[in-house]
């Protein structure tokens, strides 16, 4: 009976509100006889009627909780993970991610040819590739889109992904004004040729990342950056956009024009946006949400308990938490002090007591297994040597050591709790006094970029499955460095690795660079590698597999009906 009431609910609610307000109006009238009250009551009721209108939504085949509301879903401009998920439902690149292992497989391009030196790629687009509004997706549109991404005026943060393509860096930096100089051209309607600066082993994975997605040229030329609000929105991916309500949900419907539409079984998908992890969990446990794709929206304190359940899936993730040291001022100017602090940290204690999700403690900057790579061990826990180093640096038993602050962002209690652990570890082993300095997000970013800290929490999530995405953050001129550390040897090693064609040798060079980074100079020391968590009941949701890249392509997702 209640269910049938749901069908008429809007009417029921409005009627209820109307009656209540009239009752109140009547009461007032009894107190103060006069016509004005009734009129007031009528106005109020009508107003409430108007405001109360909210039609019920049919439950979609799949309901996902995506985490916070995306800042933008324009695939070339977005930077957030939540943003990227929506974009990957609506759009596609030349390659797409394999749902089982996160590796590249054919997308808009059906096949490709790679030259023997690894510097030239030839992509063959599918002739049947179309936008959801019917137009063909052609090679010149792909090239045009890439030129849009590298043009500084577009202000795409991920434009740095184009540095591996010839002239990419120069165009992004503004040295070359003409974006058509980018090393990509359309040979005919369905063939794209790309010239690379260096052999880039992860280039195919790169083609699956959002900044390389083609965008509908005619829409962008017509509406500029507002093309993403066009209705209907031209989509190249498995789904198209029905409606978008900010901080509520995206309603998606299957895109019949998608070249692989035959594989897409879920007709309607709702993607919810929200900020509160407890609420997301309640929705999931209540069956109103089928899949929680973002770890941020799963309550951190309950992580271990949840991970033990069959509908929560834990996996090694391509991310690392570490600590940055400010090498431009005392006391961390001295590399010995940095090494001492790095060695005084018992990382396994942090992962066992604070994060408790089975993270792998690691003093390096690259997670183990990234692209088949094994990072160096880094400086392991060794309080005795730490004390010796500190004494050598001029602070025996911490005497004379200035009071320092460990800064962190207040996003999660875990960061605060980690700070408390670090504070007590350093006091215990080195006799150093550490104050905690919690910062809200923007202040955290500002202070870190301005080098206005002593040592600060940091983390990085890889953009592609290769150690280079982690290591090139610490190049001398990289904006992501934020430690003030510059070393020509490190830069040269990374350059050499980039130019190296042999993959094994390349990884060895990278390892050498990382050893310099985390064992010798130590402007940064790792804490632990990230562990991801997503929630999906395997009896209800299929076509998702845990993978290091945390990519769950929409074309394979399906609802399992009993």
């Amino acid at each position: 009976m209640i269910h049938s009431l749901v069908q008429q609910n809007a009417l029921v609610r409005k009627t209820g509100v109307f009656c209540c307000l009239h009752w109140w109006a009547g009461l007032f009238e009894f107190l103060r006889p006069g016509l004005s009250v009734r009129a007031f009551g009528v106005v109020l009721s009508v107003g409430a009627w108007v405001l109360a209108g909210c039609s019920p939504l049919e439950r979609a085949d799949l309901v996902l909780h995506n985490g916070p509301e995306p800042e933008t879903i324009d695939p070339q401009i977005l930077t957030g993970q939540a943003d990227g998920r929506i974009a990957s439902a609506l759009f596609e690149g030349l390659t797409r991610f394999n749902p089982t292992n996160g590796m590249a497989m054919p997308g808009l391009a059906s096949h490709w040819e790679i030259s023997s030196d690894g510097l030239t790629y030839l992509f063959f687009l599918r002739p049947e590739a179309r936008w959801s509004t019917g137009e063909h997706i052609e090679a010149n549109e792909v090239v045009w889109s890439w030129r849009r991404a590298v043009t500084p005026a577009t202000a795409a943060d991920y434009a740095s992904q184009f540095f591996c393509i010839r002239n990419g860096r120069a165009i992004v930096n503004g040295e070359l004004r003409d974006a058509s100089q980018l090393g990509a051209e359309a040979l005919d309607a369905h063939t794209v040729r790309v010239h690379l600066e260096n052999p880039t082993p992860y280039f195919l994975e790169l083609m699956a990342s959002r900044v390389f997605f083609p965008v509908p040229r005619w829409a962008v030329e017509r509406w500029g950056d507002h093309w993403i609000r066009a209705e209907p929105l031209p989509c190249s991916g498995p789904y198209q956009l029905l409606s978008w309500r900010v901080n509520d949900r995206f309603c998606l419907r299957r895109n019949p024009q998608y070249w692989d539409a035959a594989q897409v079984t879920a007709e309607r998908i709702d993607i919810l946006s929200g900020d509160n992890p407890s609420t997301a969990l309640n929705l999931f446990l209540n069956g109103e949400v089928d899949l929680i794709s973002d770890r941020k929206i799963i309550p951190g304190e309950l992580g271990p308990e949840l991970a033990a359940r069959p509908d929560f899936h834990r996996f090694d993730y391509l991310g690392q938490d570490f600590i940055r040291f400010n090498t431009t001022r005392k006391p961390f100017q001295d590399a010995r002090v940095r090494r001492a602090v790095a060695m005084a940290l018992d990382r396994s204690r942090i992962t066992a007591h604070i994060t408790r999700m089975g993270e792998r403690p690691s003093a390096a900057v690259t997670p183990a297994g990234t692209g088949g790579y094994h990072p160096p061990a880094g400086l392991s826990y060794d309080p005795a040597t730490a004390r010796r180093l500190l004494a050598e640096a001029g602070y025996p038993e911490g005497r004379g050591f200035p009071a320092i602050e460990y800064a962190f962002n207040v996003g999660s209690r875990i960061y605060e709790q980690t700070g408390v652990e670090i504070q007590s570890m350093l006091r215990e082993h080195l006799g150093i006094r550490v104050e905690l300095r919690p910062l809200e997000w923007k202040t955290y970013l500002t202070e870190m970029s301005a080098l206005n800290y002593d040592f600060i929490r940091g983390s990085w999530v890889g953009d592609y499955d290769d150690p280079m995405t982690f290591l090139d953050c610490f190049l001398s001129d990289s904006g992501n460095n934020r430690t003030g550390w510059k070393d020509v040897r490190y830069d040269r090693l990374l350059q050499a690795a980039a130019a190296e064609a042999d993959p094994q040798r390349r990884l060895e060079i990278l390892r050498e660079a990382e050893t310099l980074l985390v064992e010798e100079a130590v402007p940064v020391t790792g804490l632990y590698s990230h562990v991801g968590l997503y929630a999906a009941d395997p009896r209800k949701v299929g076509g998702i597999w845990p993978n290091r890249m945390d990519e769950h392509p929409f074309f394979s997702m399906r609802r399992i009906r009993p």
């Binding site: 749901v6 879903i73 500084p152 900010v246 900020d275 309640n282 109103e288």
Partner: protein, 300 residues
């Protein structure tokens, strides 16, 4: 109405104060964990939002746009303008607020009145209990508690989201109970004060029935403190609604209110401040008018 004419002036002062104060806080809307791709790109982004102009110029431009009704693009949600976002979320917040207000007065006034009339009766204890809950339990504890009990354990209502009427029950209760407690308390006090006044004794002496005495003479006067407190109460309601909207994942303005500060979305923040200022002014005005109308003493 001198008060009505004053509203735009006050708004202008509020807008100016907020505009300059917000920029005193370090960190900008375009700061991200990932550094920009290049200085050129960063400069282009700033130029697009006129960030490279001197502050006075930006202020002038902003004011000019606001007068024309354009609150600017959101600096965080780059696909939306502030008008867009407010247009989507304001109706939701208003209806939540109106319903909570309805619960507050619909529950608080009768309960407070009954508690005053029957001292020591069940209503008195109920009112005291409600006061305890409303005054002493923070909204961000009450909300999840109600969700746990009525949403998950008993399963009577949905745990979150907005849409059908069932979704509105728990959020409205959470917000409404908080204020119903206060309204009940003021009502009870107001009633107690009036019941002992000579005004009531005169009415009784006139031979009116007790019910008529209460409804016609006691309640209106007792309502005066209640109505005069609706002003500050409404301001509180807005702050409380942020928590409720966060806990129940309701797409209202509450989320932008606080988050736009944390993301330094200046235009959104300014839009929110202006919106709330207008709302508070209008509601205060309405409550003042209501006060004048209800209380015969003030009228004379």
């Amino acid at each position: 109405m001198a008060r009505l004419a004053l509203i735009p002036v006050l708004l202008w002062m509020v807008a100016t104060l907020s505009f300059f104060l917000l920029r005193a806080v370090p960190g900008g809307p375009f700061d991200r964990e990932r550094a920009p791709a290049s200085r050129e790109a960063e400069a282009a982004l700033k130029a697009r939002y006129h960030w490279d102009e001197p502050l006075w110029r930006q202020y002038e431009r902003y004011l000019g746009n606001v007068i024309r009704g354009d609150l600017g693009p959101s600096l965080k949600y780059r696909d939306h303008s502030v008008n867009d976002l407010l247009g989507q979320t304001v109706p939701v917040s208003l209806s939540l607020g109106a319903m909570a207000f309805g619960v507050a007065i619909g529950l608080g006034i009768p309960l407070g009145a009954l508690a005053a009339l029957k001292r020591g009766g069940w209503a008195d204890y109920a009112a005291a209990g409600l006061t305890l809950v409303g005054v002493c339990v923070p909204v961000f504890v009450l909300g999840p508690l109600l969700v746990l009990v009525f949403g998950l354990w008993l399963g009577w209502f949905p745990v979150a989201l907005w849409g059908p009427w069932q979704n509105a029950v728990l959020p409205t209760l959470t917000l409404g109970l908080y204020f119903a407690a206060r309204v009940a308390r003021w009502m009870r006090e107001g009633m107690l004060e009036v019941l002992r006044s000579p005004h009531v004794q005169t009415a009784r002496a006139k031979g009116l029935s007790e019910t008529a005495v209460i409804l016609r003479h006691v309640v209106p006067v007792a309502l005066v403190p209640v109505i005069s407190y609706t002003g500050p109460m409404l301001a509180d309601l807005l702050t409380g609604s942020f928590v409720v909207e966060n806990v129940f994942q309701i797409p209202g303005t509450g989320a932008f209110f606080i988050n736009s500060f944390f993301s330094r979305d200046y235009t959104m923040m300014m839009g929110m401040v202006l919106f709330y200022s207008v709302l508070l002014q209008v509601l205060n005005l309405m409550s003042d008018l209501l006060l004048r109308w209800v209380d015969p003493r003030i009228r004379s």
